[in-house]
Each structure stands twice: as structure tokens, then as C-alpha cells.
């Protein structure tokens, strides 16, 4: 007797193994991105994007390694259309052979395999990962709050609401109580009246006001690298502030020998030439702060990026005095010195700042693109006065 064939069709809609493992894979991608944030945050494609864009970030660690041949130094077999000859170019790197799975299905053979995994992520997602443990340092409540941060909490119970928010425990309890009153023990005969729904409330947490005074050196001595680093640091800084606090104000100042207040767009795109007088920027910052953001009501955070090539000792001394004046009325002062490849000893400006013992002064040196992330972390670690006092003791 011949063996048989049969055909059937079932409902597979509840079968979800693939998507579950896919989700785990995506988690690994996120972890890998987090591990290499240092390299990723300073990538050009990201800081020139508008934020909505999906950027591709290469992650190497996601490939499961195995013993394999060095494919770049090996002959491979392929097939032509009947007219191939020695010397024909059939493709260009990046590319290569597709990893072979044990499945029996047909897969496209011409899709290039990649050694690294290219993860797709939006800048917003990336920012969320990056900002997980950042906060504004030395934040103190001041004056009337116009800075607020919103929070949604499920801490109310109501009799109406969407079924998805049904509070089962309370509903059952209501039902039991009603039944008990009627002299019946146990659960049953559920009525609309028994239903209880969790509902949320918006909590507006009042916070202190903060203003960030961003200063950038646009003098001729600032090379492409310096511009790039400043830009990428401020890109993330601005993003961070705008994500976490709805009403942080930012003042942009650019300077060479003279300082001027500019708008955000100009701040990031301006490139000028000329000498450097850092004190001009600090003076303007101090003026703006005193004029518009009284210390009694505003937390002030001046940040300055420069290559440290300042014009002479005299100006350095003036800077020092101005920084001290700013520090007196600010929560923290950030100074980032950018030296490509760490080519020199600290600049005269940085040396002058070395005298400042105030812990509210945060100075960092950036020598590589990868330093941007640690610099961000250093500036935006949530420190408070109490913690500082503990350290001092």
C-alpha cells in the first residue's frame, strides 16, 4: 500500500517564538549600543541629524564569534552568465558571503554579509540611553518655580475607566463586600457598580529654575577637530536639557576677541577667524546673568569650550577673576579644553584654572572623539551639596 500525503491548515496566530527571541536580540543591540556610547555619541552622522532621523550605528560585539577563515585572503567560487573572464571585477567591499544557516529554505545569495551588525536607532532613543544617569549638578530650589517636570502616576481609583485599566483586586473585593452585605458568601454576580479602575494623575513636580550659558570659542585657532567636539558636546547637552527639564533656558555666546550673544543655529554653525580673548565671553556671561537671571531665582550653569589658546597672561588672570565671580553666583562652572591627540601640556588658561579649589568648577580635557561621553558624564552627574560635604569630610 502506498504511504500517504496529507494537507492541513491551522491557526498559527498565537505562535510567537520568533518575535520573542527577536525582542531579546534587540535588547542585546541596546546593551551593545550602551557599551559603546563613547564611540557612538561623537559620530558625525548623529550630531548633524535632526533628531527624528534613524541613524545606523555599527556594533561589532553582536556577532557570535567562531573559528573561521580569513575570507579576505581566500579564493571563493562563483558563477557567471557565460562570459566571465579572469580579471573581471564582480563586486566591491564591503560585501562578502552570506552566513549559512542550517535551514532548508532558499535565501538570496547575493546579499552581502557583514562582520558587524548595523543597528538602527533613532537619535531620541539613543539620547534616552545616554541620559539615563545624567542630571543637573548642584540643583537648588530657588525662587518661584517656572521649571517643572511632569510625572504620571497611577494612584487613583475610580468607578469608570477603560477596561484595560481595570483593578481586578479591588473589583473582586467590592463584589465580595456587596455579596456579603446581601448575605451571600463568595464571588459572583458582578455588576457595573463593582468595577474599579485604576487611573492616573499628572503630578507636576516643581523644580528650580536653571539657565545654561553656553560659550564657544570661534577664533581662528579653533581647528576642525575643536569645532567638531564643541559641536557634538553642545548637541548632546542641549538635547539633554530639553529632554529632562521642560523649561531650562539656554543662552548662547560665541567669542573670539569679542563676545556676542547669538541664537542656537548661529552658535552651532558659526566659524570665524581672529584672535582669542576668553575674558570677553566670561564678562558677557556675567553681565547677562546679573541682568536677566538673578542668583536668588536662577540656578546658573556657565559652560565654556575652547582650545585654551588665550591671548596672554593678563587675560588669563582676568578670566580667573571672572570665573570666580561667576562661581560665586553659579551652581557649577564647566570648562572643556579640546586638544587634538593630547598634543601639548595643558594650556596656560587651564594652568591658571588649576588654582581654583572650588569643587563647583569642573574642568575636563578632551583629546579624542571618544572623550565627549565621559565629559558629558562628568559635567552632568547629579551632585548635591550634602554629598559634597560628605566627601570633604
Amino acid at each position: 500500500m502506498l504511504p500517504t500525503v496529507s494537507l492541513s491548515q491551522n491557526d498559527w496566530s498565537l505562535h510567537r517564538k520568533g518575535p520573542i527571541d527577536q525582542a531579546r536580540h534587540n535588547e542585546r543591540v541596546k546593551e551593545a549600543i550602551k557599551d559603546s556610547l563613547g564611540e557612538i555619541v561623537s559620530q558625525e552622522s548623529i550630531i548633524t541629524s535632526d533628531g527624528k532621523k534613524i541613524v545606523k550605528v555599527p556594533i561589532r560585539s553582536l556577532e557570535l564569534p567562531r573559528f573561521r577563515f580569513d575570507r579576505g585572503r581566500k579564493n571563493h567560487a562563483g558563477q557567471g552568465q557565460g562570459d566571465s573572464k579572469v580579471g573581471d571585477v564582480i563586486g566591491q567591499e564591503p560585501g562578502g558571503q552570506q552566513g549559512q544557516g542550517p535551514g532548508k529554505g532558499r535565501q538570496a545569495g547575493d546579499v552581502p554579509g557583514i562582520d558587524y551588525y548595523e543597528a538602527e536607532i533613532t537619535v531620541d532613543e539613543l539620547a534616552a540611553l545616554l541620559f539615563e544617569d545624567l542630571g543637573l549638578p548642584f540643583l537648588r530650589p530657588k525662587g518661584h518655580a517656572i521649571v517643572e517636570s511632569e510625572d504620571v502616576r497611577f494612584d487613583e481609583v475610580r468607578k469608570t475607566g477603560p477596561m484595560s485599566n481595570l483593578d481586578k483586586r479591588r473589583t473582586i473585593r467590592e463584589n465580595l463586600m456587596r455579596n456579603a452585605k446581601a448575605g451571600r458568601a463568595g464571588f459572583g454576580g458582578l455588576k457595573n457598580d463593582d468595577l474599579r479602575f485604576k487611573t492616573w494623575e499628572r503630578h507636576v513636580r516643581e523644580e528650580s529654575n536653571a539657565v545654561v550659558i553656553a560659550m564657544r570659542d570661534v577664533s581662528g585657532s579653533m581647528g576642525e577637530f575643536e569645532k567638531y567636539i564643541t559641536r557634538s558636546f553642545y548637541f548632546w547637552m542641549v538635547r539633554f536639557l530639553r529632554t529632562r527639564y521642560t523649561q531650562v533656558q539656554i543662552v548662547f555666546i560665541t567669542h573670539h576677541t569679542e563676545a556676542k550673544e547669538v541664537d542656537e543655529d548661529t552658535f552651532f554653525n558659526l566659524g570665524e577667524s581672529g584672535g582669542t580673548k576668553v575674558s570677553s565671553a566670561y564678562q558677557l556671561a556675567l553681565d547677562i546673568a546679573n541682568e536677566r537671571y538673578p542668583a536668588s531665582e536662577w540656578n546658573t550653569y556657565p559652560f565654556h569650550f575652547s582650545d585654551g589658546d588665550n591671548w596672554g597672561e593678563v587675560d588669563n588672570q582676568r578670566c580667573l577673576d571672572l570665573v570666580k565671580a561667576l562661581l560665586d553666583r553659579s551652581n557649577a562652572f564647566g570648562y572643556g579644553e579640546i586638544q587634538e591627540g593630547g598634543r601639548r601640556s595643558p594650556s596656560t588658561l587651564m594652568s591658571a584654572f588649576g588654582q581654583i579649589r572650588d569643587p563647583h568648577f569642573i574642568g575636563v580635557t578632551i583629546t579624542r572623539k571618544e572623550d565627549v561621553y565621559p565629559a558629558l558624564k562628568q559635567f552632568f552627574s547629579t551632585r548635591d551639596e550634602a554629598g559634597l560635604a560628605a566627601v570633604a569630610r
Binding site: L2, P3, V5, S6, L7, S8, Q9, W12, H15, K17, G18, P19, I20, D21, Q22, R24, H25, E27, L62, L64, P65, R66, F67, R68, F69, D70, R71, G72, R73, K74, N75, H76, G78, Q79, G80, Q81, S84, K85, V86, G87, D88, V89, I90, Q92, E93, G95, Q97, Q98, Q100, G101, P102, G103, K104, G105, R106, Q107, A108, G109, D110, Y117
Partner: protein
């Protein structure tokens, strides 16, 4: 799918089954199941339905799904080598497409049943993998998802390193030999029975461990790794057993696909197709068989070779008639014989002729600068390179040379270098994973640009160095 279409397909499959039988195909019973595309990608990604969870499966799933969503490739069919066999058809394929697939599947199943290399396959693998998956879930529950995942990462990185011919293994050396050497069994009272006789000196046993270089790295780790817990050894065994199931399929990819393509074409021609259907079939057939610049398309090359064999044995040349005694008209019989006794390596060695290499326009290419360039068209070199790339399934051949290296239970592996260097970056990373399983320093001897080199990983706190080429010449 509409009921009417389902009936049509069912009729079609029955007709195909009958034609296949008349033509001499001899498959197991086949159960066809219509599934949506998502399920198809999933089975393709896991290799088998119901296999254990791991993120690499999730990644494969995503890749296949993306390729399908962008219309780059499509899995037409998936067939499981069990008895009875299971085959999955795409729900939204046309009836004709699924008929072609059914014919293709029947030939695969015929191949599974009759090819020598599948003789020892576990034919209830579906049950086995779901039991394995269940065990793995239990381990996740007992030891945590992370612990299992970490272990699987390490194990999957060496899953190819098993012995393809387990039946050729030597039995382990006998532990207790008769002390007198006369073959009589040893008993507890031997010393009393032979009082006064001088006991021969115990033979100095080779202290080498393992006694012979061990190809089955997975088994060696499962049996001898010093610190693994029983459940971890079990996971090693599970992955190894599943890998064994896939081996014959990897060994016969070209033949199997060639055989199935040969027969789906032959069988479909026997069906009574309308003109429109015939054009649809031709389009699908040529899509599956299109040559690839960067790979050898197993469907195309395999089918061409089978056709060529049939032709040559049907119409032998004068010389072949005289010298080899071929009668002519033996084509069919010959291809059935080949499907029974060959694997890809012997198939290509015996039947990939000069004429075929030229007709198929096969070539070798390599990376020069940043361009992939054709470097060789000589048929023998091409054939031999393809053959060489099949040695050990295209994987580096690695053996355990010493499991007690430097008398400290360090693991010394050796790459049997056959002309191609290893990817050192990957080798370093893989060594770390092996270290995770062995828990002692691990070493790998290989050859880099003609020089013997030893890569080492001694753990995070040890000398964590991959010895640079030249530092440890021996």
C-alpha cells in the same frame, strides 16, 4: 486560502505523489501544512520548529523577515527530515507555486530516506528538539535566563566542532586489562591466587590526554571540562546532538537541492498545465535556478550535474561504450544510484566535468584591494577549490591536542592548517568563550602567514594575552 483552492492543491499533491511513485521516487509519507509567512521565517531561522530559544535565532528571524518584507528573497518551502516528513507551504503562494513546491519536497524526502548519509539520522527530531527546548526552559527557570544565555553564547560559538563520522570513532581504550595478559578477567582475589608469582611491572601507560587528537571538541568539553555543572554538560550534549542532525544536510546540500529541482521540473512537465500556469512555473523555476556571482547556487549546479549524468549514461560516447562497457539508456538508473551513495564532495569530484564547469561558467574570485576580482577559470583548479572548501563543511579543522597542557589542565587546541589562515580576531574571541567552558587557560596552535603561532587566553586575571605572531615560536 479559499476552500476551493485548498481542494485543488490537495488534488494536485495527490497527483504529484502518484507521478513521483511511478517515476521511482520513494519518499516517506509527507504531511503538508499551510502556514503564514511569519511562521515560515521562524522555522527557517530556527532550522526546525520548536527549537530552543536564543537571541541568534531571533536575529536570523529578523534578517529573513526583513529580506522577505523588502522582496529580496522568499522561502518557498521548508521540509523536515523526519518519518513521516513534515513540509510547510506558504499560505499566500499561488496553487501552482505550491504544487511545484510539493514536487520539490517529495524529492527531498526521497533523498532523506534513501541517501546513505542520512542512514543514522534521528527521524523523530521534532519531538527531540521540543524536549530539548523544554529542558532548556527548565534550566532557565532554575538557573536564570542570563546564566543559560551566557552558556549558550559560548557553546554556539563552537557548535561546528563535532565529529562528522561518529561511527568511525575508536572505542575508548579499555580501562582494566588482565594483569597477566592472558585475557582472563581480573578479580579481586588475583593477588591471593598467585602468591609467590612475581607480578609483572605495570606497563607505563601513555600519559597523553586525550590519547589521540580529539576532533569532537563539544564532546571533549562535555566529558572532561573540570568545572561544569551537570546541567551545563547537558546543554553541551543537547546542542551537539542537534548539530549532528543538521550535518548530513550540510554534507549533501548541492545534491539534495539539485535532486529536488531536477524532479520538480520533471514532475511538473507531466502535469496537465494551462499556458498561463506553465509561464508562471517557468518564471519561478528560473528564479530558483538563477546563478549567483558570489556563490555556487546549489539548486542550479546540482540540477545541471544530475541532468548531465542522465544524458551521459543514456547516450554514452563510443569510447565510453568500449572502455567502460556502458550500454546506453541507463541514465535514470544511474542518477538513482548516485542519489543513494554520494555526498557533495564525491558528487562533484566524480561528475563535475570540464564541460560542465565551462557551461556553468564557474570561476574563482578573491579580494584584491577593495575589489572582488575573478582570478581563476581553469576547470580543475575551480573544481578542486570548491571541493577543498567542503572539507569539514568549510570550517577550520580543529582538534584537542592536549587536555593537560603544562600539567595544569590547560587546554591545547591545534588548527590543522590546510592552506587557509584563520581570522585571528574571531579566533581570539572564540578562545575566550572556550575558556569560559574550560575554566583554565586555553591555547590554539595555528599557522599565520607560514609561521607557527600560538594564540592564548588565560582568563581575565591571568596573562590575558593573545600571543602575537612570533612570540612563541617552538
Amino acid at each position: 486560502m479559499i476552500a476551493e483552492e485548498t481542494r485543488d492543491l490537495e488534488q494536485g499533491i495527490k497527483a504529484i505523489w502518484e507521478i513521483a511513485g511511478q517515476m521511482g521516487l520513494d519518499p516517506y509519507p509527507v504531511h503538508f501544512e499551510m502556514v503564514p509567512a511569519t511562521i515560515m521565517y521562524e522555522f527557517g531561522a530556527y532550522g526546525l520548529p520548536g527549537r530552543f530559544s536564543h537571541w541568534t535565532h531571533g536575529r536570523a528571524y529578523q534578517q529573513i523577515k526583513t529580506m522577505y518584507d523588502y522582496g529580496l528573497s522568499k522561502i518557498y518551502e521548508l521540509v523536515i527530515n523526519t518519518n513521516p516528513a513534515y513540509a510547510f507551504l506558504l499560505e499566500n503562494n499561488s496553487v501552482l507555486q505550491n504544487k511545484v513546491v510539493a514536487a520539490h519536497v517529495l524529492a527531498h524526502v526521497d533523498f532523506f530516506k534513501n541517501n546513505l548519509y542520512f542512514e543514522h539520522t534521528n527521524r523523530s527530531m521534532l519531538e527531540t528538539v521540543s524536549i530539548n527546548a523544554e529542558r532548556m526552559r527548565k534550566y532557565e527557570f532554575e538557573h536564570g535566563r542570563e546564566a543559560v544565555e551566557k552558556l549558550l553564547d559560548a557553546i554556539l560559538s563552537i557548535q561546528e566542532h563535532i565529529d562528522a563520522n561518529p561511527r568511525l570513532r575508536k572505542p575508548p581504550p579499555e580501562q582494566k586489562k588482565s594483569r597477566r595478559g592472558d585475557g582472563r578477567p581480573v578479580s579481586a582475589f588475583d593477588d591471593l591466587l598467585h602468591l609467590g608469582e612475581e607480578a609483572p611491572l605495570p606497563v607505563e601507560e601513555s600519559r597523553k590526554f586525550p590519547a589521540e587528537p580529539e576532533k569532537d571538541l563539544m564532546l571533549f568539553l562535555a566529558d572532561h571540562s573540570p568545572d561544569l555543572e551537570p546541567w551545563q554538560r547537558d546543554v553541551l550534549h543537547i546542542v551537539r546532538a542537534e548539530q549532528h542532525y543538521f550535518l548530513p544536510q550540510m554534507q549533501t546540500k548541492i545534491m539534495n537541492e539539485g535532486w529536488a529541482s531536477f524532479w520538480h521540473a520533471t514532475i511538473i512537465r507531466e502535469l496537465d498545465l494551462g499556458e498561463g500556469e506553465y509561464i508562471e512555473f517557468a518564471r519561478m523555476h528560473s528564479g530558483v535556478l538563477s546563478p549567483s556571482k558570489r556563490n555556487v547556487n546549489p539548486y542550479y549546479v546540482g540540477m545541471k550535474i544530475f541532468e548531465d549524468i542522465e544524458r551521459r549514461w543514456d547516450n554514452p560516447t563510443e569510447e565510453e561504450r568500449k572502455q567502460l562497457g556502458r550500454q546506453g539508456g541507463e541514465g535514470r538508473a544511474k542518477i538513482f544510484e548516485v542519489r543513494e551513495v554520494d555526498n557533495d564532495a564525491s558528487f562533484l569530484r566524480s561528475y563535475l566535468t570540464k564541460e560542465l564547469v565551462d557551461e556553468l561558467d564557474l570561476y574563482l574570485y578573491r579580494l584584491e584591494g577593495d575589489k572582488w576580482v575573478i582570478v581563476e577559470k581553469d576547470w580543475e583548479v575551480v573544481r578542486d577549490t570548491i571541493l577543498a572548501s567542503m572539507t569539514n563543511f568549510g570550517q577550520p579543522y580543529i582538534v584537542v591536542e592536549d587536555g593537560d597542557y603544562r600539567r595544569g589542565r590547560e587546554l591545547y587546541l591545534k588548527h590543522c592548517h590546510e592552506g587557509d589562515d584563520l581570522d585571528l580576531d574571531y579566533a581570539d574571541k572564540t578562545l575566550k568563550y572556550i575558556h569560559q567552558l574550560w575554566a583554565r587557560p586555553v591555547h590554539l596552535e595555528t599557522i599565520v602567514e607560514g609561521k607557527k603561532t600560538v594564540l592564548s587566553y588565560e582568563g581575565q586575571h591571568g596573562r590575558a594575552s593573545a600571543t602575537p605572531a612570533g612570540a612563541t615560536y617552538q
